[in-house]
Amino acid sequence: MSGAPLNWPDGNDRVPYWVYTDQGNYERELEKIFYGPVWNYAGLECEIPNAGDFKGTQIGEQSVIVVRDDEGNINALVNRCAHRGVKLCEQDKGSFHEIICPYHQWAYDLKGNLLGVPFHRGVKGNGGMPEDFSMKENGLDILRVHVRNGGIFVTMSDEAPPFEAYMGERILGYYDRELDGRALRLLGHSRQRIGANWKLMLENIKDSHHASLLHVFFVTFGLFRVDNESRIEMDDTGLHTALSSIRGKQELNDGTAQMRSFDSDLELSDPNLLDVIPEFEGDQTVVMQTIWPNVILQQQSNTLATRQIVPKGPNAFELHWTFFGYETDDEKMTERRLRQANLMGPAGLVSIDDGQILERTQKGILAHPGKSGVVELGGRDTEDADHMVTEVALRAFYKGYRKVMGL
């Protein structure tokens, strides 16, 4: 769609469709956002518990190795040999104590330092590296890492503010509610590719009222519904959001009466699926956090997960789900989390609907870069709300986005 004028309509209540489809804008997003002064989510410590354990991940479109070194520290290294650019590590996870490129066997330690180059001093007086070749300057690209209560974040920029300041006090409060310092137990991964712009995934979580209309399952069982007691809170930039809510009853009221998808008669054959037990302070049964730019940290009942967003061009993204519990969970609790995981993921009782609708959104807007979406529900402001009948988090998000992008 390059060539179309990238104008932003006046006001906070319109979002132009080119922002989801334009290749040039997408490339600027990679530079200004993912490779810029942000903290990108890169995984959980419990994925790499032992010295030498690594996981492969992606930050923007770059492949990154996250590894625990022999001192127990977590390092993030760009997955590209300093010699000829070979992708060093092709596995998603594993364990190693040095990294050796298979092509010409340049070897690196787990901090990214270049350890050795074959034929460095030549063979029988022939060849070898120049006298002034610097081992020090030819290591791997190293990313700055911040670990908080088991969550691993990385930045490619020297300008990223300290992590705590980046999150802001309130969002950090919600973060610490779920990642509270207890050791996490990894339950597993699932991964899906969705043919839609990466921002639509963040919007899907910030757009609280869709759950009442699209997700029959949520609506019927009151897990997430506009008539539930709820809050939408943003940080100062508007880019992070925490949505919290208290589960409602399966009853007909002035909210549910307006939802065509509400079915007061629906009953689970096996109520074990929703055998939810309170485990956090406060009454909230669901907290969905979008942490700018690439992760959703979520609690829905007793299922806990992160969803990492990996952009794949303007028209697609991957969603890498990681489900977890706590090391202190007993067997019953782990079973409960695993059963409730049915709600989420690429075959989730509710998230199936989201994957499908995001792709349909992309199909709808693809050929219309000059048109705009409407985000006027709940007014035109960008302030926190104590209900869900609003698109305020989308307005605040694009206010922050425009600032970052200089739009």
């Binding site: 998603d92 996870k93 990894l186 339950l187 597993g188 991964h189 699932s190 991964r191 899906q192 590719r193 969705i194 043919g195 699209l214 029959v216 399952f217 019927t220 629906l266 689970l268 054959s269 096996d270 074990n272 699926l273 991957e318 489900f323 782990t334 695993l338 059963r339 995981a341 049915n342 993921g345 690429p346 075959a347 989730g348 009782l349 998230s351 199936i352 609907d353 994957g355 499908q356 609708i357 792709e359 349909r360």
Partner: protein, 156 residues
């Protein structure tokens, strides 16, 4: 060793399951399972690392029924065709249990789009007899596919 009659019976049963799904007869899906049952779709990466997370997990007839309801009435997705392609069944028997392994590939065709591969993997089944009929006591669908194209909107 198992008799060729039993082998045929197992293969027919496994094939009938796939056809029932491809034919859209989700009503019949729970009938393929024993009263005491486990159905789990699990990524090979989890399976091989001993991680328990399923993409979909039903550990009772009731949960199968609830999933069936959700897939056929509650979830929102566009029209599509599915085609299960099954490999030859490898089966063995000990006491009253039959174990079977079968490769699968599922082709998905969305209205107006090219056919794509939804997922590829292997069924690891435990079968028993209930009222003289074969039933899945356990059906693990271990899939190789790294990235699921969007979502899995039916049982596999």
């Amino acid at each position: 060793m198992i008799s060729s009659e039993l082998r045929d019976e197992i293969a027919d049963f496994i094939n009938a399951y796939a056809l029932a799904i491809d034919d859209g007869e989700l009503e019949r899906w729970p009938e393929f399972f024993a009263n005491d049952c486990l159905y789990k779709i699990i990524a090979k990466e989890n399976f091989e690392s001993g991680l328990p997370l399923g993409l979909l997990l039903c550990d009772s007839q009731g949960m199968l029924q609830d999933r069936k309801e959700a897939f056929s009435k509650l979830n929102v997705f566009g029209p599509r065709s599915w085609r299960h392609m099954l490999g030859a069944v490898q089966a063995s028997k000990s006491d009253d249990q039959i174990r079977a392994r079968t490769s699968f590939v599922i082709f998905e065709t969305l209205a107006g789009e090219d056919t794509h591969i939804l997922c590829a993997g292997e069924y690891r089944d435990i079968l028993i007899r209930e009222n003289d009929k074969l039933k899945f006591r356990e059906r693990l669908c271990v899939y190789d596919t790294t990235m699921i194209p969007n979502s899995i909107v039916r049982p596999i």
